[in-house]
């Protein structure tokens, strides 16, 4: 199979060079667009499409065709869709997905085919370390980092006792591990709840009984909405500091509203980050989609900028993969987050902030930069990556 694909690739490559910049650049976007997490996938897709639109429908001076696929949060469907993009649509880049387990599933079919995979969200530790891949780039973060931000913050703020909670799956365990990497105080308790839990009465009772200085939770999507509402209703918000990652962000705030105000999160960006390119992005996004963008949207926007910048360096050529990878590695674009460069493992080196939920003057809710926690921060797995 590999041989044949290589052959096919070579033929496509030749024809692409022959046709020059006339041929359309094809980009596949894979995101979860069904089920409860669909809102995250929509943010990703919207962010990417907005960038393409703002760049005049061209990336690196080539007309762009974006093909969007829904992975349905089923790994085998994701693999199937990834193969369709690579083999049927013959895309030059695949951008996606949202979830780590989808990333692990599509990694092989996309990168084995010599197609560049850019993750605008999921950044697992295995691909940051030993299994790092020359065809794989990340515009978001390594998954542990937002949790580390919170751990560092809790440690620096001198908190004595923290209560930890996450769903009982791999990302949940990574979250807790990430937090504990920097927080050295007492752990009141470490609770893993079933994925998709609705009612948190039992856990809230435990928290009240432990009376910690703060809680750190990683409860993405609807779980976070349920927990934040119930946490506020139980009157714990006044007594216990709320630290979190992926629990209070612009994808969940429309449902959490006042209940989340004053809660903290760890992030590499917030809508109010003060630079001109970000201001324009947030304004455009809100105008186009009538919602405040979350990190998923901004990281996908950056992914488009990354492609654009790299293709400008290669003069629109995508067939010379070595040149293309080298161009991508240069990160030839102005990120919405400000300083950005790639580490040897193709994961970003960037700043991280503690963000805080606030209500804006127009009544909408967003996270806002509270404090920079890490500057030029890279992940610890990069040292295991054989790429230099």
């Amino acid at each position: 199979m590999c041989k044949r694909l290589a052959l096919v690739g070579a033929i496509i490559g030749l024809s692409a060079t022959a046709a020059g910049a006339q041929e359309k650049l094809k980009i596949g976007v894979i995101a979860t667009l069904s089920g409860p997490p669909a809102v995250l996938g929509q943010q990703l897709r919207n962010g990417f499409q907005l960038a393409v639109k703002n760049l005049g429908g061209k990336l690196g001076d080539r007309d762009v065709e974006v093909v969007v696929e829904d992975d349905e949060l089923k790994p085998d469907v994701a693999v199937n869709k990834a193969k369709a993009l690579v083999d049927r649509t013959k895309v030059d880049f695949v951008v996606g997905p949202i979830f780590s387990n989808m990333l692990i599933a599509i990694m092989k079919p996309v990168t084995d085919a010599g197609v560049i995979l850019i993750s605008p969200n999921a950044g697992t530790s295995n691909f940051a370390g030993k299994e790092c891949n020359p065809n794989f780039f990340v515009t978001s973060y390594q998954n542990d980092q937002n949790h580390e931000v919170m751990g560092k913050y809790a440690q620096d703020a001198g908190m004595k006792k923290v209560f930890l909670m996450a769903p009982n799956y791999q990302a949940g365990k990574d979250a807790i591990a990430g937090f504990k990497r920097y927080f050295k105080g007492d752990i009141a308790d470490e609770v893993y709840v079933p994925l998709g839990q609705l009612d948190y009465s039992a856990e809230l009772t435990k928290i009240a009984a432990a009376s910690p200085d703060a809680i750190f939770v990683f409860l993405p999507g609807g779980m976070g909405v349920n927990f934040v509402k119930q946490f506020r209703q139980a009157g714990l918000a006044e007594k216990v500091k709320f630290l979190s990652a992926f629990t209070v962000d612009e994808s969940t705030l429309p449902a959490q509203k006042e209940a989340a105000v004053g809660f903290f999160g760890g992030a590499n960006w917030a809508p109010n980050l003060d630079n001109p390119q970000n201001k324009k992005f947030v304004t455009d996004y809100e105008k186009e989609y009538n919602a405040v963008p979350a990190t998923y949207a901004f990281q996908a926007y950056d992914a488009a900028l990354l492609i654009d910048g790299a293709l400008k360096l290669t003069k629109g050529n995508t067939s010379d993969k070595d040149a293309l990878r080298a161009a991508l590695m240069k990160a030839n674009f102005t990120s919405l987050r400000g300083p950005f460069k790639f580490n040897t493992n193709h994961y970003p080196i960037q700043d991280f902030y503690q963000v805080k939920v606030a209500q804006r003057a127009d009544g909408k809710f967003e996270t806002q930069i509270d404090k920079k926690v890490f500057a030029g921060y890279s992940d610890p797995y990069a040292k295991d990556c054989p790429m230099k």
């Binding site: 199979m1 696929e69 085998d76 049927r88």
Partner: protein, 330 residues
């Protein structure tokens, strides 16, 4: 009112002599797919139809216990998942030879079927559905807690299974024919069973368990054997699914997946075996086609299912029969 949860009574067993035509056509078409695929995006088309056949194998097994045995399992995906995990776990330890992994997959699923069957088969109708769901969910949660094998994230399989060290499945086309052979084998196996003495008792137990008991058959044991066979074939499907996606994940055994398998056999036409193949193909191809048209494809797909139930009793095969009947009369 007490219909119980058995297959539609209108679906009768096809006569042995008329079975030949349609199934033969199906297998012939499937055998020709790779030639047609050569004209288009080959690996994509092969991948899609490989997927269809892998699900068809699982659907066949489900149709056997459900359509003939009246045992509606809502946990059938667990067998598929267990088979897939057998490949994944052995692969993680460097064992890729199918002489080991294939029997392991079949055996693991069969053992799970035997153990859970002992409990499940004590119940009837809706209770059977729910207890199989319960065991399916348990398998799902256990797979999700296998931290050394990726936990909830799943596990990548580096290489497809080998035979005596030869990577005979690495080529998409040969893998396709391997799956086709497996499907054919599963189909012939179930056909042979259905028409055997064992099959007659198994079917009889669906229609009237009391009569079967009175005739001196140990209904429970017959059903358990049938359930274990279906489990093992589910494991075969899992073995192939793991090789097709080169990835295993607890999501393979979620209850939604079990539900999809039920939909597939109903869509094709229950209790016909080849209907399961048609159903799996129809379900996956409709999904693929609609998904290509619009992101909102579920707005079309949902009503389509309803319409099929309302107007095509006995699934697509039933619909075909009806149309043939109309034409015949005209």
């Amino acid at each position: 009112m007490n219909r119980g949860l058995t297959a539609s009574n209108t679906v009768s067993l096809p006569q042995d002599d008329r079975v030949g035509g349609l199934p033969a056509a199906i297998f012939l078409l499937l055998a020709l797919v790779p030639f047609a695929a050569g004209f288009g995006p080959e690996s994509y088309v092969l991948g899609l139809f490989t997927r269809v056949m892998v699900f068809a194998i699982a659907a066949l097994a489900l149709d056997f216990i459900c359509g003939y045995g009246g045992l509606v399992s809502f946990g059938h995906a667990a067998f598929v998942g267990i088979g897939a995990y057998a490949v994944g776990i052995l692969g993680a330890h460097g064992i890729t030879d199918m002489l080991v992994s294939l029997p392991s997959a079949l055996l693991a699923s069969a053992i799970f079927a035997y153990l859970t069957g002992n409990v499940c088969l004590r119940t009837r109708s809706v209770y059977f559905i729910m207890i199989t769901l319960a065991f399916g969910q348990m398998a799902y949660f256990i797979a999700g807690s296998l931290a050394p094998y990726g936990g909830d994230d799943g596990l990548t399989i580096r290489l497809r299974s080998t035979l005596f060290g030869f990577a005979i499945l690495q080529n998409d086309r040969s893998f396709y024919y391997f799956v086709l052979l497996a499907l054919l084998a599963a189909y012939l196996l179930f056909r042979a069973i259905v028409y055997s003495r064992f099959g007659r008792v198994f079917r009889g137990a669906r229609e009237n368990p009391t009569r079967m008991s009175t005739l001196g058959f140990d209904v429970f044991r017959f059903q358990r054997v049938g359930y274990v066979i279906a489990g093992a074939v589910g494991g075969l499907s899992g073995f192939l699914l793991a090789n097709a996606t080169q990835f295993v994940s607890p999501a393979f055994m979620s209850w939604q997946r079990s539900g999809e398998l039920i939909i597939m056999i109903l869509l094709g036409g229950l209790g016909t075996l080849h209907g399961a193949i048609i159903g799996a193909a129809a379900y996956l191809l409709i999904e693929e086609a609609l998904g290509g048209i619009t992101e909102q494809w579920k707005l079309i797909f949902g009503p389509l299912l309803v319409l099929i139930v309302l107007f095509a009793r006995g699934g697509l095969l039933g619909l075909a029969d009806k149309i043939r009947g109309r034409l015949g009369r005209a």
